[in-house]
């Protein structure tokens, strides 16, 4: 059963969208159109369908138009041309009030950065859709509570979002979507903002939950592993166009073109693989406030490492090598002040492997991976990077 059918959808941002579509059909490129008409093509000739009860992953790198495409499905963004049929009804023609009813009855959404209402408790966030639907208070609370229990947040219903961790916040986002009992769930990079471990857990839980609730899910992701893991089928996008649609197996073994082949094979893995997926948990850390050279060196010996990262005020401060620490002990230093190297290179979760390789070759220490708060979240060493690349190559 086809739940959603998308037929030849275009989205063009700019002053003269219709003109841009004409030009696209005549074979002009996106860059040409942008230069001549100041129109940006977000999505072009998108056609695919979603079966009832399946998880379809729309996958692509950033800027590929996947977020725009999914926002066309609930018309947070109005498509410029094309048809979107849900249960056989073309939703592109709905007026404002009918669209509102349609969203209430059929669609719920989970957002990348959670988009929880900060002034509402977990309970009131989860019940938001029901409140809009004007469900009676008692019934509303009961349904919201069921959803909260489903995502494993029982006991937190009176907390505010700011009191919860990222993973818990996204559970609230998920519960808010589940409580509405809509048959379609749109998930926009729902797990991308979470730590790798929590992300993996959430993916497992989503799959378990899906066994029970059997919703039709359209899931946006830029992460190939995530797409392979949770998608029944995958739609692969590049520069606004859909380049291939199929099951994970089909895409891996029978790539439609060069791009897909590169995307899924080791050739380009160095660009696809990020620091986050190849980093190791740091074995040990020194604390600037409490560790002197002696205890730092002891920690290094204990973990069989030749240097150690130093933390100060919960932030990554620098790096001390075993040799420097030994020197400091000889001199009789009590603190790491003189030996800690503070001008070290760091990378982010989504730094691609191609950028890490030269760093590893040049620098005498492992490459630290830090988050926005400059907290050390992992280290990349030569072994872990090579293993990560090799593993993807054989898939």
């Amino acid at each position: 059963m086809e739940k959603i059918v998308v037929e030849d959808v275009y989205k063009v941002f700019g002053p003269s969208p219709k003109q841009a579509i004409e030009m696209l059909k005549k074979g002009h490129s996106k860059a040409e159109i942008l230069e001549k008409t100041k129109n940006t093509v977000g999505v072009a000739e998108a056609s695919f369908s979603v079966k009832e009860g399946e998880i379809l992953v729309v996958m692509g790198l950033s800027g590929s138009g996947k977020s725009t495409l999914v926002r066309c499905l609930n018309r947070l963004i109005d498509p410029t041309a094309g048809k979107i049929l849900v249960d056989g009804i073309d939703i592109t023609g709905l007026d404002a009030e009918k669209l509102r009813r349609f969203r209430l009855d059929h669609l719920s959404m989970v957002f990348q950065n959670f988009a929880l209402f900060p002034h509402r408790t977990v309970m009131d966030n989860v019940a938001y859709g029901l409140e809009i639907k004007q469900v009676a208070v008692a019934k509303r609370r009961e349904r919201a509570m069921e959803a909260i229990v489903q995502v494993g947040l029982k006991g937190n219903e009176d907390s505010y979002p700011s009191q919860l961790s990222g993973g818990m916040q996204q559970r609230v986002g998920l519960a808010r979507a589940l409580a509405l009992d809509a048959d379609i769930m749109l998930m926009d990079e729902a797990f991308s903002a979470l730590d790798p471990l929590i992300r993996s857990d959430m993916q497992d839980e989503l799959l378990q939950l899906q066994e029970k609730v059997q919703k039709t899910i359209v899931f946006i992701s830029h992460d190939l592993d995530e797409a392979l893991k949770i998608g029944d089928r995958i739609v692969l996008m590049k520069d606004g166009y859909i380049v291939q649609t199929g099951t994970a197996e089909e895409i891996l073994t029978n790539p439609a073109n060069e791009y897909v082949a590169k995307f899924v094979q080791d050739v380009d893995m160095a660009k696809v693989i990020t620091a986050e997926s190849v980093m190791l948990k740091p074995k040990e850390m020194a604390y600037y406030e409490t560790d002197g050279p002696k205890s730092a060196l002891r920690k290094m010996k204990h973990s069989h490492i030749s240097g150690i990262f130093v933390r100060k005020d919960k932030k990554l401060m620098g790096y001390v090598s075993a040799d420097d620490a030994a020197e400091a002990i000889k001199r009789g230093d009590n603190t790491l002040e003189k030996v800690v190297k503070t001008d070290i290179e760091t990378v982010n979760f989504d730094t691609p492997a191609v950028e890490i390789i030269p760093l590893l070759a040049r620098l005498p220490y492992p490459i630290p991976v830090v988050d926005e708060g400059n907290r050390l979240r992992g280290v990349v060493i030569k072994g872990s990077l090579l293993a990560g690349l090799a593993e993807r190559g054989t898939e």
Binding site: R71, N74, L76, R100, R101, F102, R103, L104, L107, S108, M109, F111, Q112, N113, A115, L116, F117, P118, H119, R120, Y128, G129, E131, I132, K133, Y160, P161, S162, R176, L180, L186
Partner: protein, 283 residues
């Protein structure tokens, strides 16, 4: 050679005269109503002995700000005002501020919402606010007299005009600052425009709107003093009389009274707004 002079002043005068001739009966009627209201508030504040009112205000300040320091300052400040025999003028000033702030907020918040939600409204309102905020405050006193007569209501009119811009601006800003993804979430869950406004935009903008109201109160306080020139009584009236008679001491005392009222209102509003902040800040 004589230059042609563009009759800006004459045009404005003609317009105001026209409005006065045709609408003054309405504004005068409104003036009568408002001035009864103010007299009523002042007599209510003056009816119980000052010490009772002082204790009530102290309790209120403490309760709203949840800070004993602000409560203690309120108590001591008001006692000093009473001791300087400025109790009556202070109560008149408070009544003027109360009424003009209520009117300013009543006008300002809806206009701020309109400016935030409609680009056209925003483009019309912003330049008007720019003019209102750069025009010297004294200028507003002039049209107040023909429309509302000398006294409290004229003062309130010019005070409202002078103090409403920050309320409009910050309401608009607060709503525009609501993160785009929260608006998307509200839309995606089928909220109507009004539901979105009252359940998402206004509650999240609350802290910013309160900051705007706070500024409006502070501006109202400074204008209420200037408005003494057109016969508003209160602490401003005391200052104005002291200027005319060169009574330095008396003028200074009234000035201290104004400062005390300003600090109390500001600290209570800020502490109250700050409490909202803790709830709304994310992560």
């Amino acid at each position: 050679m004589e230059m042609y002079r563009i009759p800006v002043g004459r045009v404005v005068e003609t317009i105001i005269n026209f409005l006065v001739e045709n609408f003054a009966f309405a504004t005068r009627g409104f003036a009568a109503l408002t001035s009864t209201g103010i007299e009523w508030i002042v007599s209510a504040l003056m009816y119980p002995p000052p010490i009772v009112v002082i204790l009530i205000f102290t309790g209120l300040a403490w309760f709203l700000s949840k800070s004993w320091k602000i409560g203690l300052f309120t108590l001591l400040g008001l006692l000093l005002i009473w001791n300087m025999q400025l109790w009556g003028p202070t109560m008149s000033t408070l009544a003027l501020i109360l009424v003009s702030t209520l009117i300013a907020v009543g006008i300002g918040i809806p206009i701020g919402i309109a400016a935030a939600l409609s680009d056209i409204a925003y483009k019309i309102i912003t330049p008007i606010l720019d003019v209102m905020q750069t025009m010297p405050a004294f200028v507003y006193l002039i049209p107040a007299i023909p429309f509302f007569g000398l006294g409290a209501v004229g003062a309130i009119f010019s005070t409202v005009v002078f103090s409403v811009p920050p309320c409009i601006r910050l309401t608009c800003l607060g709503i525009k600052q609501v993160p785009k993804e929260l608006i998307e979430a509200a839309d995606a869950f089928g909220s109507s425009k009004w539901q979105k406004l009252f359940k998402v935009q206004l509650p999240i903008a609350k802290t910013t709107i309160l900051a705007g109201i706070n500024q409006t109160i502070m501006l109202a306080l400074s204008m209420v003093v200037i408005a003494a020139m057109i016969g508003a009584r209160g602490l401003g009236g005391e200052v104005w009389r002291a200027i005319q008679r060169l009574e330095m001491g008396r003028g200074f005392e009234a000035g201290i009274g104004i400062v005390i009222v300003a600090i109390i209102l500001d600290r209570v509003m800020q502490a109250y707004g700050g409490k909202g902040q803790q709830q709304t800040q994310q992560e």
